[in-house]
Each structure stands twice: as structure tokens, then as C-alpha cells.
């Protein structure tokens, strides 16, 4: 059996051990539906184990090697939280510390469920969705996040909302497995502002995110992952798109030793659209975005634009697989991956893939990896702009089309401040 060939034969698997010891005491262990889903998620994971570079989808990011030593579960934190959120005050807010819901500021009529306290009273919309996505063999760490879920939040959206999901990671040498489930009901509209901050030290944050967009639902998702330099972070996101649903996302990764966003977007119904933009800025470690966009239904559209600015010894990874299923005629897909390398030791790996099983589709992809254009740099300097300022202007110009059109002026400003801070630290790393 080919699955056996991938089996991890090295040291005891940290997740395997955790599941064996704690499965019976995890939240909702007594709920049959959840126990079954956890078990099958774990089975999906266990076929491969913690991915090494031998696993095709992880060939540029060696998670097994990065996860060293004993990592006990991250504790719940009820004390004060230093800093959280990057997108201002307006809107509902859920603050999660070490993956656990710390506080909720709603008052906008959202339904919010703390998954660490999941029990028989949990509403049907949670049991009807939780763990059905981002828990299979195609998202190995997503499967782990469900199997070992200790915390997280479920949210049901009706009407029009702005929601902050503020994650703060304060854990030391530990791991958290959390889930987010967001169900956006028919015709509802959500602006989702997700941030990951924290000063954790060598901790592993593992998050599974399920987004269910019912017919005509609209989600704009702006996400900033900006954790401390030693943090490992994997998010496995799955979105399923109902008829004419629209999902627009801008993901930004500017922190951590290893960060990976594993996103699977299923354009399940006619007329659904997904736009995935990614910005990675790093001078050390790895920032990995790996996506699968699955055109299941006809007349579906996807646009992907990934931009990386890499300095120092950083490495960006951009992998995108677009699948067009037999029924997905008139599908329209495009992906473009671009990386700017600012130092001789910076690296970018880009792998766009297309699998087309339908006729009459429009699919395109492209990649470009290079350094700053010397002609442009000279042009700006010859106009009186000093070198550092000219470089900064060109880097901003490089990122501009990835950010354009997301959020409102204030949100974009807040985001740009974050990105600027990351870019400034990039400059310091330069020889």
C-alpha cells in the first residue's frame, strides 16, 4: 500500500501520543458525532503522520523537523492580555488566548459558541458543520486540529457584520489545537478581521478554520499573522461556497519561525467566486501559503495573487493547485505568484498547478521571482529620492495590487502600518 511508504518512521509522533493519552478527556468527548469526527480525522492524519518533506504538499516546509521535543497542551489564560487586534475598535470581537476564548464583545446579535465548553446543548448549526471540512488527508494539520481540539469558537452570522477574531499566543513551549467555525447564512455579509499576535516562545499554534458560505453570502476576510520570531503556526482553512457566494481574502504573514496557511476553497455551487490574495514579508524562517481551489460547479471564478518580500535568510513558499472538475464548464481561474528577493540568501519557492477536467474554461497562471528593478531604482534616485526611500517606495509598489480594494481606508491604513513595521525590520537585516 502506498500510504505505508509515507509513514513516519522517526521519533514518536507528538500528536499521536497526545491523542492516545487524552482523546477521552477532550471537550465534547461524550458527544458521539464529535467523537466519530475526531476519530476519522485522526485516522486521516495517521496515514501520513506529521509531514516531512517527503509529503508532496509539504515538500518545501519540513514541519516534522521544526516540531522538536515535548510540547504539552497550551494552558487557558484568564489574566490580562497585553496587546491584541490590529484593526481598530468597531465591530464584534472575540479574543482568543492560546486558542481559548478569553472574552467576547458582541452586542451585534451574532451567535457565538465557545468550543472548549462544547456539550449536548450545542446548537445544531455547530454539530451540522463542525469538523466536516479542514479535517481530511488533504489538510493534515487541519485533521490534527480537530482530533486534538481543546478550544476555539463557533459563530453564526445573519445580516451584515464586522467581526474581529483576535488571537494572542502567550504560551511557552507548548501547542494549541483550536478550531474556528463560521457559518454565514444565506444572503448574509461578513467582514472578518483575523489577527494573530503574541510573544510566545517556541510554541506551536495549530488552527483549523471552517467557513461555510451559504447561497449569496459574502465574506471579506483580512488576516494578519504576526507572531513572535520563534513561534510555529499552521492554519488549515476550508471554505465551501454556495450559489453566487463570494469570498475575498487577504492573508498577510509577517511573523514567526514557520508559518503555513493551508487553504482549500471549494466553489461548490454555480456562480460562486473566490479571490485569494497573500502577502508574506519575512527575513528569517518560512512563510508558506498552500492553496487548493476546487472548481466543482459551472460558472465559478477564482483569482489568486500571492506576493512575497523576502530578505535575510527568509524563505517564502507559494503553492497553488487549481482543480476544474468535469461539471465546471465556463470556469474562470487565474493565479499569479510573485516574489521580491532583497538579499542573496533569500529564497522563494513557487509552484502553481492546474488540473483541468472540463472543456470551455479559462485558466491561467504565472510566477515571477526577482530582485528590485535596477532601472526603476536609478530612476527614482535620479529624481532626488535617497536609496532607502526609493527601495521602500518600490516595495510598496510591488505590494500595492495585492492590498488594493480590501477593507476601508482605516482598515487598510492599520494593515499598512503592520506591513511597514515588518518591512522596516527587513531593512535592518540587510548587510
Amino acid at each position: 500500500m502506498t500510504a505505508l511508504a509515507f509513514k513516519v518512521d522517526s521519533a514518536p509522533d507528538v500528536f499521536r501520543d497526545d491523542f492516545a493519552r487524552h482523546a477521552a478527556s477532550l471537550p465534547g468527548a461524550h458527544l458521539a458525532w464529535l467523537a466519530t469526527r475526531r476519530k476519522s480525522a485522526f485516522a486521516a492524519f495517521a496515514k501520513t503522520g506529521t509531514p516531512t518533506r517527503r509529503v508532496e504538499a509539504w515538500k518545501y516546509t519540513d514541519l516534522a523537523n521544526a516540531l522538536e521535543g515535548e510540547l504539552p497542551p497550551a494552558p487557558r489564560h484568564d489574566g490580562p492580555v497585553p496587546e491584541h487586534g490590529v484593526f481598530g475598535e468597531e465591530g464584534a470581537r472575540v479574543l482568543l488566548v492560546n486558542g481559548f476564548v478569553h472574552s467576547v464583545h458582541d452586542g451585534y446579535g451574532l451567535e457565538i459558541v465557545d468550543l472548549s465548553r462544547i456539550d449536548a446543548a450545542t446548537p445544531d448549526w455547530v454539530s451540522g458543520h463542525l469538523g466536516l471540512m479542514a479535517a481530511g488527508e488533504d489538510q493534515l494539520l487541519g485533521a490534527v486540529s480537530l482530533a486534538l481540539m481543546r478550544s476555539g469558537v463557533g459563530i453564526r452570522v445573519r445580516g451584515t457584520h464586522r467581526l474581529h477574531l483576535d488571537f494572542v499566543n502567550l504560551a511557552r513551549a507548548s501547542m494549541s489545537h483550536a478550531r474556528v467555525l463560521i457559518v454565514v447564512e444565506r444572503g448574509a455579509s461578513l467582514r472578518l478581521l483575523e489577527s494573530h499576535l503574541g510573544d510566545s516562545d517556541a510554541a506551536f499554534a495549530n488552527l483549523g478554520i471552517e467557513l461555510v458560505l451559504e447561497q449569496g453570502a459574502q465574506v471579506e476576510h483580512i488576516r494578519v499573522q504576526s507572531e513572535a520570531a520563534e513561534t510555529l503556526h499552521v492554519s488549515s482553512l476550508a471554505a465551501s461556497m454556495g450559489r453566487d457566494a463570494r469570498y475575498r481574502a487577504l492573508y498577510c504573514a509577517v511573523g514567526g519561525k514557520l508559518s503555513r496557511l493551508d487553504a482549500v476553497v471549494r466553489l461548490a455551487e454555480t456562480g460562486s467566486e473566490a479571490q485569494l490574495h497573500n502577502v508574506a514579508i519575512l527575513k528569517s524562517g518560512i512563510a508558506d501559503i498552500t492553496t487548493v481551489v476546487d472548481h466543482v460547479a459551472a460558472h465559478t471564478t477564482s483569482r489568486q495573487l500571492f506576493k512575497s518580500v523576502v530578505g535575510g535568510r527568509g524563505r517564502s513558499v507559494s503553492q497553488g493547485r487549481v482543480v476544474v472538475r468535469p461539471g465546471a464548464v465556463k470556469s474562470d481561474s487565474h493565479q499569479l505568484f510573485k516574489a521580491l528577493l532583497l538579499s542573496p540568501r533569500a529564497e522563494a519557492d513557487a509552484k502553481p498547478e492546474l488540473e483541468i477536467f472540463a472543456d470551455d474554461v479559462a485558466c491561467g497562471h504565472g510566477t515571477a521571482i526577482g530582485d528590485l528593478d535596477p532601472d526603476a531604482l536609478f530612476y527614482l534616485r535620479a529624481r532626488g529620492i535617497p536609496e532607502a526611500e526609493a527601495k521602500s517606495l518600490l516595495i510598496h509598489a510591488f505590494l500595492a495590487d495585492a492590498i488594493e480594494g480590501f477593507g476601508d481606508d482605516a482598515l487598510r491604513q492599520a494593515l499598512i502600518e503592520r506591513l511597514d513595521a515588518a518591512l522596516a525590520s527587513l531593512g535592518q537585516a540587510e548587510p
Binding site: D375, Y379, L380, R381, A382, R383, G384, P386, F398, L399
Partner: protein, 251 residues
């Protein structure tokens, strides 16, 4: 008194290959000088060297601007001191709004000179005023810098910048190439508007056309990395009539 620009026995190498082989040239304030020459004669090397581009290595001789040796100065420091190079191929920079760029550049120069920076409204007013004279539509200022501009629009944008920065020494590197007659006149008008007793211009060109509208005080013929002949405005006409080969050979 020394001229605004004094080039003395200038030798320049690019990638270890000597391109300029001893140029001596003096451009006093108040004058327009033309440098003409066939392709490959070193015209663009001269303009890039004057602007301070990396990779253009001065191996011998020197460039004095306002009596100061330029060799060690960065391109931006030269710009702040009042030098301006209009490029033959202005660079397209998508993602940088034209107006933002103009403001950034103008204020960078002012800052370097110890002058007060101008606020966005002042810059906008100034730019609008200059743009109007050059028949540059407001819409063009809102677009990303040079992105998708036609050849003529790019050259007009160069002239707009020249008008905005009011340089003491303007170097126009084949700004006339690829322009139709209307655009050519606009460029010439832009150059003529800046002619003054304090300023000097170096017009580098392959053709005589522009020089009918911007009559130079002196014309220098560059060939094989050297100035082989200098003369008055008539020399440009002579070149146009008999071609470079004859003039270069006779020299």
C-alpha cells in the same frame, strides 16, 4: 569664472570596458549645448555618468559641477544639487501614483537642500500649474507613474518633472526620439521655458530636429567615446545634411 559644468578628460568604463575615452567639455550657465553622435558613440554613457548611475566607473578625469567634483556623489545628492536627467526610456512604475512620486521626489530634494517640505496641497497646485502648460491631463497624474503611458506621454512627464524641479543643469538624453511633431514642440517649449542666465542644458540627441526649436549655443559631435568636433548651431544642420560618417572622418 568656471563654467556650471566642466568635464575634464573624462574616461568611463562599464563592466571593465572603456566607453568614454577622454571627454573635455565646458557648459557655462545660460547656455544650451547639444551633444550629437551616432549610435554607440557613448551618448547615453555620458548622461548616465553625469547622473551618477552605479556601474559607470570614472577611471580618469573629473566632472566639476558648480566647481565641485561630482564623482563621489550619489544620484539623489546630484539631483538635490540641481541636476536633472530626462531619460531616453522613462521607467514604468506600476503601484506608485504619479502625484505621490512627484511629491516624494520634490520634497526629498528640498529636504536635502535644507528647505521646508511642501504639503500635498501646495505640491498639487504646483504640479497642476506646470501640467497645464504642457497639456498634461489631470487624469494622467492620477495614474501610476508612466504605467501604460505612450512614448509621447512619458517624455512629457519627463519635461513636467524638469519644470517642477527647476534644475540648474538639465540633461536631456534623446528626449526627442520617437516623438511626433506636436510632442516635439511641447518638449522644445518646455526646454525653452527653462532657459535662463543661471541655467544650462545639455541636449543629447541623434537628430537635428529638436535643435530647430531649441537652438543650441554650441554643438559637439561625439564619436567613439571622444568629442571629435565642436561648433555653433550650424554644425547640427551640417550633420543632418552630410551624415555623421563624413563629419567624423573629416575630424
Amino acid at each position: 569664472m568656471t563654467a556650471l559644468l566642466e568635464i575634464d578628460d573624462l574616461h568611463v568604463a562599464v563592466d571593465g570596458k572603456e566607453i568614454l575615452k577622454g571627454i573635455t567639455l565646458s557648459v557655462p550657465a545660460g547656455e544650451v549645448h547639444a551633444v550629437m553622435g551616432p549610435n554607440g558613440s557613448g551618448k547615453s554613457t555620458l548622461s548616465y555618468t553625469l547622473a551618477g548611475r552605479d556601474g559607470y566607473e570614472v577611471t580618469r578625469g573629473r566632472i566639476l559641477y558648480q566647481g565641485e567634483d561630482l564623482t563621489a556623489l550619489t544620484p539623489d545628492a546630484r539631483a538635490a544639487k540641481g541636476m536633472f536627467l530626462a531619460l531616453q526610456y522613462p521607467v514604468e512604475i506600476p503601484g506608485v501614483a504619479t502625484l505621490t512620486f512627484l511629491k516624494t521626489a520634490l520634497n526629498a530634494q528640498r529636504r536635502a537642500r535644507g528647505e521646508k517640505e511642501l504639503d500635498a496641497m501646495r505640491v498639487l497646485k504646483l504640479v497642476r500649474e506646470k501640467a497645464l502648460k504642457l497639456k498634461i491631463a489631470e487624469e494622467m497624474l492620477k495614474r501610476p507613474l508612466n504605467a501604460g503611458f505612450s512614448g509621447g506621454e512619458k517624455k512629457r512627464m519627463e519635461i513636467l518633472q524638469m519644470a517642477l524641479f527647476e534644475p540648474k543643469l538639465a540633461i536631456l538624453d534623446e528626449t526627442d526620439s520617437g516623438l511626433d511633431i506636436d510632442a516635439l514642440k511641447l518638449v522644445a517649449d518646455g526646454v525653452n521655458a527653462l532657459r535662463s542666465p543661471e541655467r544650462a542644458m545639455l541636449v543629447i540627441t541623434h537628430y537635428q530636429r529638436l535643435l530647430s526649436y531649441t537652438v543650441p549655443d554650441r554643438v559637439h559631435v561625439l564619436a567613439g567615446g571622444r568629442i571629435v568636433k565642436s561648433g555653433g548651431a550650424d554644425l547640427a544642420l551640417e550633420l543632418e545634411k552630410s551624415g555623421y560618417e563624413q563629419v567624423v572622418e573629416a575630424a
